[in-house]
C-alpha cells in the first residue's frame, strides 16, 4: 500500500463525544434526537409486549389465546396449511425433499470457500427443477398423482417464483438479443413482444389467463389454471427482463464487439463468450430487482383463486372460531416474504463481489 492510498487515521471517540457529535451537534439535531427517541421508547415497549411477552405461543385451540397479545398459536396451528396448502399429509415428504434440496443448493452460496459451491448452484438451476417436475405432481415412478389444485401455501409461492425466475432469464436474454439484432423480422417481433407484455398489468394477464382463455379453448382442452398462470407470469416477466439485459448490452463498448469480430468469432460465440458475460454482470442489481419484484408479484395469483401463502392466510383469518387474528396472519406472511427477498438480495451482493473485476468505482 503506497502512502497516497492509505486510509485516514481512525478517530477514537468516547461515547459521550460520539453522541455530542452525531446526536446533539446543533439545536435542531438535539430536538430531533429527543423526539425520535421518545417515539422509539414509547412504541418499542408495547410492540414487544404484543409480539412476545403477552403473546400466546402454546395451546390447543382458540380458547388458549388470552387476547392480551399476539395469538401466534393461530399460525402454529395452521402452519401446515400455510406451507403445503391442500397437499395430502402423507405425501408432504415430497415437498420436504424439495425444500431440503433448495437449501442444499443455495445455502452453500452464502459460505465463502465452500468446496464446489458452484456445482451446488448449477444443480439448483438444472437438477432441482427437473426433480421437482417429477416429484411434486407425481404420476410416474409409482408416485401418487397430486393435482395442481391441491398445491398451495408457501410451496406454491416458491414454485411460481422459482419457475418464473428460471424461465424468464433465458427468454429475456433472447428477447434482448433479438431487439438489438440486425435482422428486421426478429427485431420487429421482439419489439412487439416486449412492448405488448410490458404495457399490460400482471393482473390483466392473470385475468386473461384464468377467465378469458378457457372460453376460447374447445371443451375438454382445459389446461390447469396453475399452468396458465405460470405461462402468463413467465412471459410478462421475460419482457421486463429483456429490457434490463438490453441496458447491459448497451453499456458494453463498441470495441468489445469489434474485438470479438476481429477474432473471427461467430454471432453466438461473440455474444456468449465476450458480450453477455460482461453485460449480465453489469446488470446484476437490475436483474435481482426484477426477481424480487416477481417474487412479491406472485401474490397476485390470489385474485384468480390460487392459494399462495398470502391466499391461505387470507382465507383462514376470517375463521369465526378465532378472535381477530388478521394482524398475526399478515405479519407471518410479511416475514416469509422478507426472508426470501432478503436472501435473494444478499446472494446477489455476494455474486457481485465475486464477479467484480474492478469496473466499479
Amino acid at each position: 500500500m503506497t502512502e497516497s492510498t492509505m486510509k485516514p487515521p481512525k478517530k477514537a471517540l468516547t461515547p459521550v463525544k460520539w453522541m455530542r457529535e452525531h446526536l446533539f451537534s446543533t439545536w435542531y439535531n438535539s430536538l430531533l434526537t429527543v423526539v425520535v427517541g421518545y417515539l422509539v421508547v414509547t412504541s418499542v415497549g408495547p410492540l414487544l409486549n404484543w409480539a412476545l411477552f403477552d403473546a400466546n405461543f402454546q395451546g390447543a385451540d382458540a380458547s388458549d389465546c388470552s387476547g392480551a397479545g399476539a395469538c401466534w398459536l393461530f399460525i402454529s396451528q395452521r402452519l401446515n396449511f400455510f406451507i403445503y396448502g391442500f397437499y395430502p399429509d402423507e405425501l408432504q415428504w415430497r415437498v420436504d425433499i424439495m425444500f431440503l434440496l433448495l437449501a442444499v443448493a443455495f445455502v452453500p452460496q452464502f459460505i465463502e470457500r465452500f468446496p464446489g459451491r458452484k456445482w451446488f448452484g448449477i444443480f439448483g438451476m438444472t437438477g432441482l427443477p427437473v426433480i421437482g417436475y417429477f416429484l411434486i405432481p407425481g404420476g410416474n415412478f409409482g408416485l401418487e398423482t397430486v393435482e395442481s389444485t391441491k398445491w398451495g401455501g408457501l410451496m406454491l409461492t416458491l414454485i411460481l417464483a422459482y419457475i418464473g425466475i428460471l424461465a424468464s432469464l433465458p427468454i429475456g436474454v433472447l428477447l434482448a438479443l433479438g431487439r438489438r439484432s440486425e435482422m428486421p423480422i426478429i427485431r420487429g417481433l421482439s419489439v412487439v413482444f416486449i412492448e405488448v407484455w410490458r404495457a399490460v398489468p400482471l393482473i390483466t394477464v392473470l385475468f386473461m389467463a384464468s377467465v378469458m382463455l378457457p372460453l376460447f379453448l374447445p371443451e375438454g382442452m382445459n389446461f390447469e389454471k396453475l399452468m396458465r398462470a405460470l405461462i402468463g407470469i413467465t412471459l410478462w416477466q421475460s419482457a421486463y427482463m429483456a429490457e434490463v439485459i438490453r441496458g447491459g448490452l448497451q453499456a458494453i463498448p463498441r470495441g468489445q464487439y469489434e474485438a470479438a469480430d476481429a477474432l473471427g468469432l461467430g454471432y453466438w460465440k461473440k455474444m456468449g463468450l465476450v458480450v453477455l458475460p460482461q453485460a449480465l454482470k453489469l446488470v446484476i442489481p437490475g436483474i435481482v430487482n426484477t426477481f424480487i419484484s416477481l417474487f412479491k408479484d406472485t401474490t397476485l395469483v390470489l385474485i384468480i383463486g390460487l392459494f399462495d401463502v398470502l391466499g391461505t392466510v387470507q382465507s383462514t383469518v376470517t375463521d369465526p372460531a378465532w378472535q381477530n387474528v388478521a394482524v398475526e396472519g399478515y405479519v407471518f406472511v410479511a416475514f416469509c416474504f422478507w426472508i426470501f427477498c432478503f436472501g435473494i438480495s444478499r446472494y446477489s451482493q455476494n455474486l457481485e463481489r465475486k464477479l467484480d473485476t474492478g469496473h466499479k468505482t
Binding site: P214, F216, G305, F307, T316, N324
Partner: protein
C-alpha cells in the same frame, strides 16, 4: 369504438360457439364419472359456507352440498375436488367446464339465471342483508338510520342493496368502502362508521371479531333477499336434475326424520315416503341416472339438511345462526322441497 364493439362481439360469438359445441359432447354426468370425481367451485374462504380448516379440509354448507352430489353419484362423499373461485371468476369457470357445479354463496337473481347460460338448482340457504350497529348510537330499527355513516365491502351487491334501501326510505347515508371483510370490521371497530352492513349470515361472525363484541348489536331488519344455492350449466337437464334432487332429498330427509345416524335403520321403515327416499322402493335413482340407493348414500354420508345446517352455521357453531326462515316449512320456515315420488 365500433371496432372495439365488433371485437367484443366476435369474442362473445366465438365463446358461444364453443359453449354450444361443448353441449353436444358427452353429458356432464358421463364426464364426472369418467374423471372419477366431482369438480366443485367454492369461495376462497367464507366462514360457514366454504373455508379450509386446520388440516386444509374444506368445510361449510356449500362444501357439504357438493359432497352430497358426490355421494349420490359415486357413493363416496370424498370424491370431490374443490376449486376456490373469486366472485369475478365463478361464472366463467362454470361456463368453460372447468368445474361441474358451482356452490359458492351465489344469489339467485333473474339476470344471472336468464343471461349467463346457467341454471340455479335450488336454494341451500336463504340469506338477506342486515345491519350491525354500535350500541352507543341508540338505534333499534334501520328506519332510524338517516344520516348514518355505513361501512361496506366494495364490489358486492351489498353496496347496491344499501343505496336502494336508503333511497326508497328517503334517507341519506355516508358510505365508507373497504376492500375485504376484515378491513370492514377494523373500520367499524375503530369507530369510523356507526353501522356495518353485510349478509346476515356473516354479521354474527364479523361481530365476534370485534375487540368488544358486546358493544355492537344486529338490527332485526333484513333489507334484501339473498337466496343462495348451487348452480349448473344450462343445456344439460339430467345434470341439473341431479343437483336439484340431491338437495331436495336432503330437505325431505329432515322432514321425514331420517338422519345420518339412523339412515341404516330407516332402510327397514314401512313409511313409503322413506322407502322411496332411501331407494328401497321404486326406481327413483334410475330416473336421474343414479344408483337406486343414492338417497341413502347422501343422507348417510353427508346428513339431512338440518344436520348440514347445524354442523356448519347452526347455533352450536361460532357463527351461531338460528334456523330462522331456513327452518322447514313444517316448523315455521320456508325450506320446502318437492316430494320424492
Amino acid at each position: 369504438m365500433n371496432k372495439t364493439k365488433s371485437i367484443v362481439l366476435g369474442m362473445a360469438l366465438a365463446s358461444g360457439a364453443f359453449a354450444a359445441s361443448g353441449a353436444m359432447a358427452a353429458t356432464t354426468l358421463e364426464n364426472v364419472k369418467e374423471k372419477g370425481h366431482l369438480q366443485c367451485g367454492v369461495t376462497s374462504g367464507l366462514p360457514g359456507f366454504s373455508q379450509p380448516d386446520e388440516k386444509g379440509n374444506w368445510t361449510g354448507i356449500d362444501v357439504d352440498t357438493c359432497r352430497a352430489v358426490a355421494a349420490a353419484i359415486f357413493g363416496d362423499a370424498k370424491a370431490v375436488e374443490f376449486t376456490p373461485l373469486t366472485a369475478k371468476e365463478r361464472f366463467t369457470a362454470l361456463q368453460s367446464g372447468e368445474i361441474d357445479m358451482l356452490s359458492r354463496n351465489t344469489t339467485w337473481t333473474l339476470t344471472r339465471d336468464a343471461s349467463l347460460g346457467l341454471n340455479f338448482a335450488g336454494v341451500n340457504y336463504y340469506d338477506g342483508q342486515g345491519f350491525l350497529i354500535n350500541k352507543d348510537i341508540g338505534v333499534d330499527d334501520a328506519t332510524q338510520l338517516d344520516g348514518a355513516t355505513v361501512c361496506i365491502q366494495s364490489g358486492t351487491t351489498t353496496e347496491l342493496n344499501l343505496s336502494d334501501y336508503f333511497r326508497a326510505k328517503g334517507m341519506e347515508f355516508k358510505p365508507i368502502v373497504f376492500d375485504t371483510s376484515e378491513q370492514t370490521v377494523q373500520g367499524f371497530s375503530a369507530g369510523r362508521c356507526d353501522v356495518l352492513t353485510s349478509d346476515r349470515s356473516q354479521l354474527a361472525a364479523l361481530r365476534s371479531k370485534l375487540a368488544d363484541p358486546e358493544s355492537a348489536k344486529i338490527l332485526p331488519n333484513t333489507i334484501s333477499k339473498e337466496p343462495l344455492g348451487p348452480v349448473v350449466r344450462q343445456g344439460d337437464d339430467q345434470w341439473f336434475n341431479i343437483v336439484k334432487w340431491v338437495l331436495s332429498v336432503q330437505i325431505n330427509a329432515e322432514e321425514l326424520g331420517v338422519t345420518s345416524a339412523n339412515a341404516d335403520d330407516m332402510l327397514k321403515s314401512d313409511n313409503p315416503n322413506i322407502q322411496r327416499l332411501l331407494g328401497t322402493d321404486g326406481d327413483m335413482g334410475a330416473k336421474l341416472g343414479l344408483p337406486a340407493d343414492f338417497g341413502h348414500k347422501v343422507v348417510k354420508m353427508v346428513g339431512n339438511y338440518g344436520e348440514m345446517y347445524d354442523r356448519n352455521v347452526g347455533p352450536d357453531t361460532p357463527l351461531g345462526l338460528d334456523r330462522g326462515i331456513n327452518a322447514l316449512w313444517t316448523e315455521g320456515g320456508i325450506m320446502y322441497a318437492p316430494p320424492v315420488r
